[in-house]
């Protein structure tokens, strides 16, 4: 009698385990879609795509016949464009508590999609994956404040710049450093795969021109995953580097947040930031032409300026320096 009882108990236990695993496996499909849903819905609530027919963008006439199999063709057929964004980078891109995205780049990307007449969705690969190219069609374009550089142009196609940010050197407050030269021989922290790293290494090249400034004598670079971690490392009390080079907007955000950071000297260079497309994917040439037309329009009608003032508090859409 005992034997039968434990046999049944054992059987039901095994069945329960199998059922639990099976349920887990079944719901995984559902989990995938729900996890991505908020991302694609985010911009919809801000700018309903259904009310943005192509006729709203008269100045950006489509090229006579998009190359069959080109990126523009692919996006128009799908009715959706997927944008890569790095939500660790406010005010360009960050998460809201509801899990949506917001920021300057998000607004620009959403506006481009709206004027293309397609919906927008977001992917969040890490920065070095975006700049490395070979996206494999996982996302269609990057509106990620990417600087146009020669090495990146080998794998990516760029639009015209949509705004320009000053690169600002900063120092740890208690380091006592107040000038750019004060960082001579010091270690400077930058985000991985950034133009700030290239500048420190003396290899920054915008393609048509190069910055005229040179790094402090004998300064060396160290990298963290993303720019902001440098400032956070200082707050945590780390002293293994004294300088931090990032965009002036990021440096200002850190200062506003009460981190032990001071801006040092004038901006060391101004970088042209553009929309990027993958060269290894469907031919992006039509798309570049189309996006350039849309950006020119957004420059002309003040949309970009309004967005810049909303997120940065100043107009960064004109070339400076």
């Amino acid at each position: 009698m005992d034997a039968v009882a434990w046999r049944r108990g054992r059987l039901s236990l095994v069945l329960l385990a199998v059922a639990a695993i099976a349920i887990g496996a079944c719901t995984s499909g559902g989990g995938t879609t729900t996890s991505e849903a908020p991302a694609s819905e985010a911009p919809m609530s801000e700018a309903p795509m259904s009310e943005a027919p192509m006729s709203e963008a008269p100045a950006s006439e489509a090229p006579a016949s998009p190359i069959a199999g080109g990126l523009l063709d692919k996006v128009m057929t799908a009715g959706k464009i997927i944008m890569s964004t790095d939500p660790q980078y406010p005010p360009q891109s960050e998460l809201t508590a509801e899990g949506n995205y917001e920021g300057f780049d998000i607004d620009v990307g959403t506006e481009i999609a709206k004027r293309l007449g397609v919906e927008i969705a977001f992917e969040t690969p890490s920065w070095d994956v975006i700049t490395a190219g070979s996206w494999g069609g996982r996302w269609d374009f990057s509106v990620g404040s990417m600087t146009i550089t020669s090495p990146r142009q080998e794998v990516l196609d760029f639009s015209d710049p949509y705004y320009y940010t000053p690169a600002q050197m900063a120092a740890r407050t208690d380091s006592g450093i107040t000038t750019l030269d004060g960082l001579a021989g010091k270690v400077i922290c930058v985000g991985a795969a950034t133009t700030y790293l290239d500048w420190l290494n003396g290899s920054l090249d915008f393609g048509t021109e190069s910055p005229q400034t040179t790094p402090p004598e004998g300064a060396t670079a160290t990298t963290l995953d993303t720019d902001r971690l440098c400032a956070e490392a200082w707050r945590a009390g780390r002293t293994d580097f004294d300088g931090w080079l990032s965009s002036s907007t990021t440096v200002q955000a850190a200062i506003d947040d009460g981190l032990p950071v001071v801006a040092v000297g004038d901006p060391v260079f101004f970088e042209p930031l553009a929309v990027a497309f993958d060269k290894s994917g469907p031919d992006p040439s039509d798309m570049v032409t189309r996006v350039n037309a849309i950006l020119a329009e957004m420059h002309a009608d003040g949309t970009l300026k309004t967005m810049s003032e909303k997120w940065f508090g100043l107009d960064l859409t004109e070339k400076q320096g």
Binding site: W6, R10, I21, S28, E94, L95, G137, R138, E232
Partner: protein
Amino acid sequence: MGIGRGEQIGTAVAPGRVHQTMDPIVDQIARQRSRKQVRFRLTVFGTWIVLIGVLIGGLWLGGKINLDFLRQWQAYILGGVPLTLVISASSIFFACILAIFGALGRLSSNAVVYGVASFYVSLVRGTPLIVQILFIYLALPQIWQGFAGIPAITLGIFALSFNYGAYMTEIFRAGIQAIPRGQIDAAHAIGMTDRLTMRRVVLPQAIRIVTPAIGNEFIAMVKDSALVSIISVQELLWRAQTVGASKFRTLETLLLAALVYWVLTIAFSLLQDRLEKRMAESDRRI
């Protein structure tokens, strides 16, 4: 009377009943022991509470933790827990399937089948899991473009299953080999074929033997699932890290993520304990 007592001692094999029939002194010693045990457990529990209180209270009193920030973001960060669990559960499921085939291959007398199985186990166990995940996400699409169309979460589950399948192959192999040779001989003697022996005699017992081990692997998987955050699967760690980095608040978010993993691990360990006891119980009754 005397005979009755003698009979009782003779039949009192169940350990739980022994001291009831013994002298009062023995009874007292047993009670003292159990009281000591209870006191020990209570002290351990108390120490835990104090340690947790000191850790969290210290950080909070030191003004290091911004509770308002956590309150604002906890819903979003904790929203990654279901995904973490779904990834872990489905990865363990597929890993089990891989492991069964892996184990049968490792026990096969066919040299090619054995070769394939041992190659799989060696390849996976000889490379870091994080390399496997990055390779599947970044490198494979460059070999075959179609791979890029697969969502990152599927690739993450694939990488975890592929990895754990190899480790669990050894667990399943041990489970199958734990069945005494005599049972297989006996099955053959009554005319069962190899296949039938495997299905009716070996596998049912082997599955019971490895079930607690699968539970262990699941607990390890819950923690390793954090690795798929590097291919931008938006599970618990990805959410914690992204929120933390962009708001300069990694202390709060990583602390929250660590606590959640810890609580999950404790909860599943308790389940695992019960499962293991249950399995051991049936062994004892045999």
